[in-house]
């Protein structure tokens, strides 16, 4: 790890100011950032530790949405009765992130801001059409994830919470990379309260995307058979040691069907 300065923020405003001043990065749970720094793949000159900011933690139901604070650990989401009652798909998703140790440290906000192409949370944010609440305002899910490790956040903008609208039904199916256990492909399917269908895919490209053929198929018939029959093009999908674009394209409807079947 390269040397860096460490600051501990007392509030969101304090954190934003420290980041603006130092040009540093926010440290949430650190499960991705500390790992990248250890391998000398990331070299921030300063870190601003958010763990002391109480307002960033916690889960609450607010009208038709579940609001999860940015510093809420994956394990806390997985164990939340409120989330389970409102959006059980989020509990299942959180239970499947990394491993138990990672879930005990890693946070929703950190995962969203880091925007790993194989992370799980982005699929839920996009699949539910969530709103990302930040120190500067609000971002709609569509358009938030812009590229490889790239989001709509400004350099000194902090995620403070994510507001997930409660859907009629939703489910997440993940096909794990046999080595890393990240999503080789993850598919989040949701039918909103108004019946609108959203399908978000993670792991398959540099950034999560909504899958039009599946949304169209499931809008017609919200069934596993309809999902499985959908055709997804391999064009533009990632190919690596563990999966070709064609394999990923094949897995997307298979996983969507499994997600629907689990409901």
């Amino acid at each position: 790890m390269y040397a860096f300065e460490l600051h501990k923020a007392k509030s969101v405003a304090d954190a934003a100011a420290l980041i603006a001043k130092t040009g540093g990065k926010a440290l949430a749970g650190g499960q991705s950032l500390v790992g990248a720094m250890k391998l000398r793949l990331a070299q921030p000159g300063a870190l601003v530790d958010l763990s002391g900011i109480a307002e960033l933690r916690g889960i609450r139901r607010e009208g038709g949405a579940v609001i999860v604070g940015a510093m809420t650990r994956h394990a806390e989401v997985a164990a939340s009765a409120d989330v389970k009652a409102a959006i059980p798909a989020l509990v299942a998703l959180a239970e499947g992130i990394g491993d138990r140790q990672v879930r005990n440290m890693g946070t929703l906000g950190g995962a969203i801001a880091h925007a790993d192409p194989a992370a799980d949370w982005p699929a839920a944010v996009l699949g539910l059409g969530a709103t990302v609440i930040t120190s500067k305002g609000r971002h709609a899910a569509d358009g938030f994830f812009k590229g490889l490790y790239e989001t709509a956040l400004a350099g000194d903008e902090l995620v403070t919470a994510v507001s997930f609208p409660v859907p009629r039904k939703a489910a997440y199916a993940k096909f794990r990379n046999p080595a890393s256990r990240f999503a080789l492909v993850g598919v989040f399917v949701a039918q909103a309260g108004d019946g609108a269908v959203r399908v978000a895919v993670t792991g398959a490209t540099a950034t999560p995307f909504r899958c039009a053929p599946l949304e169209a198929a499931l809008a017609k018939s919200f069934t596993a058979d309809a999902a499985k029959a959908a055709k997804v093009s391999a064009n533009g999908l990632s190919g690596d040691l563990h999966a070709s674009p064609e394999y990923r394209a094949h897995l997307i409807p298979v996983l969507a069907a499994r997600a629907v079947a689990s409901l």
Binding site: M1, Y2, A3, L39, R40, F175, P178, A179, S180, F182, L241, H242, A243, S244, Y247, H250, L251, V254
Partner: protein, 788 residues
Amino acid sequence: MGASDTNVMGKSVRRKEDYRFLTGAGQYTDDVNPDRHTHAYFLRSPHAHARIRGIDTSRAKAAPGVVAVCTSADLEGVNGLPCGWLITGTDGKPMNEPPHPVLAKGKVRHVGDPVAMVVAETPNQAKDASELIDVDYEVLPAVVNCVDALKRGAPQIHDEAPGNKCYTWALGDKAAVDAAFAKAAHVSKLDIVNNRLIPNAIEPRAAVASYDRAADGYTLYVASQNPHVERLLMTAFVLGLPEHKVRVIAPDVGGGFGSKIYLYAEETAMVWASKRVGRPIKWTAERSESFVSDAHGRDHVTRAELAMDKDGRFLAMRVHTTANMGAYLSTFASCIPTILYATLLAGQYTTPAIYCEVTAAFTNTVPVDAYRGAGRPEATYVVERLVHQAGVDMKLPQDEIRRRNFIRSFPHQTPVALTYDTGGYDACLDEAMRLADVKGFAARKAEAAKRGKLRGIGYSSYIEACGLAPSNIAGALGARAGLFEAGEVRVHPTGSVTVFTGSHSHGQGHETTFAQVVASRLGIPVENVDVVHGDTGRVPFGMGTYGSRSLAVGGTAIVKALDKIVAKGRKIAAHLLEAAESDIEFADGKFTVSGTDRSKTFGEVALTAYVPHNYPLDKLEPGLNETAFYDPTNFTFPAGTHVCEVEVDPDTGVVEVVAFSACDDFGNIVNPMIVEGQVHGGLTQGLGQALLENCVYDAESGQLLSGTYMDYAMPRADDVPSFNVGTKVTPCTHNPLGAKGCGEAGAIGAPAAMMNAVHDALAAVGVTYIDMPASPHRVWRAIQAARA
């Protein structure tokens, strides 16, 4: 099972070593922190193949905390790392043996090749400074695949190895094999890739080297499986130091699996530098460093053919293998695809004629050497995949084609140089089939089909040659070392015992198993026996642990020393009891005058040996301390049958190992609990190879693509099932324990069993061949191809 019982042979005594490991009190090399120690970091080549035009270390030397920086130019008088096994080719010439410099000299030949060592006050300072070393590389084309490396026009890696060839070597009667093929009713054939693996002991390699001016000697703590071999190679071949001035200590070692047998560059450079720096130097590999510096395993490309008569009886086998040596010859690299491979191609079968030709190639990859099983998993994979194919081709059940060809008469001379002393192959097959409930398989397959899953069952009837090795035979085959083992039994005046063994325990539980052997032979409680290993300063010259040899060879050395203890004790007892030595019997810890109740306990005799007041000093030395060296007369031949059951999800290509049964014959067993544990671990490594693990290099750049756990899939708890294991016993005929060895069997038998099951499952959708690992992507592609 209480440990204070003395009747402990064959009992699952709980391990003596566990308390320290469970409470965090184990002492591994990285836990050793001598005063004023410094930290080493190795700058490694980022290129697979490049000429070094120049190295400028001046900026690094001036960096904060830096104590020393050295490159090959500094290592004056230091030789290259040696290879311990000379293979003579079919042309009668010795193998090509290019130099293996400790730090790269003139060229780098694989990603990870060490170029410079930085010694600094902290690990971070050493690493920071390494980034200030300017290496001027002229990047050269690279070749990573062993078949490609032998092609005309391939990048030339060493001047000393034209065409990148190390050797072409053969075993067997080619003419007899050709004749048998000519008259065969059927020939089954396979082209097989045995995938390259990375051993991945969870403790990374580590070393702490220091020089003591007062003693003018060196101490090296190192994560090693064989400290004496490490010392001998390092002092006599590389550094030219007096062997008695170097003490090598391999303390608690966190797994080896072969990867910690070898003499590596890092500890060699550190020992050399420790005197010059004048302070201890410590280095612990980071995992991503282990991936590019620990010797890899396997990596064979093979064409295998089996000739049969009309009834499926094996007439002959013909095997051509290309083996990847990597960029340099590691310590035992050359013998793995030859002596430890071709000799096992008879398997459990009477095949009368076998011919095997092996070409070993240099490539721009990490050196390849022994990894759990070492040659024998590769041989078993060839034989058992081929036998499976033969069963399919001949439309014979998989157990039947095996039974038709089993060896049933012993000793059995194979056509590939080995003489099996004993075995009982039907018994293991029968028991494995019972454990696997083969009778119920059809119903399970039908039930799986209802769920849309393809279920398959596969067999692997493996054999291995262990108990390495008769030194004279090994020497005739090219070994440059002896392969005996040493044991010393030191009886203390109060009758407790310390045993010093040349074997090394890095998970095998020798501290318990060897104590059981001693306790039962001397009739004393297990807790009165301590086992010391892994320290050249304390233990007689031993060859260490590899090749499932510890109990059969190391244990026998201890038994031989115990025999001497008892013989001397008998003399002392005869004197004390005023009886003839020939009338003294030793049993249950007592020396008794035959036919009487007059006796002396072992403890009384021990005390007398050290307090020799009433003692035949004119005829007998005091003391009770004996050493024995044991050189085996033959290999041992553990064998067994493994049966694997898998379910394949045709939608995703996911293979699930739903059941695995193994029946093994390891000869006599001292501690069944430990033996079962060895089998479980071996099976999981074998399943790892078949299901998950794959070391992949980029063919163009020579970069290691599977360079961390993010891309190299290690078996986790939810990747494997619980195992059904059983044993049958035919005792080894040529060692007093009747032991054969159990450490590698799982890794040897499992890959073929699992892949045969995968092929059985995939036959339903028309897939006829797939290589390891049966990853989801690969299985899915095979299904797509078969359907197309």
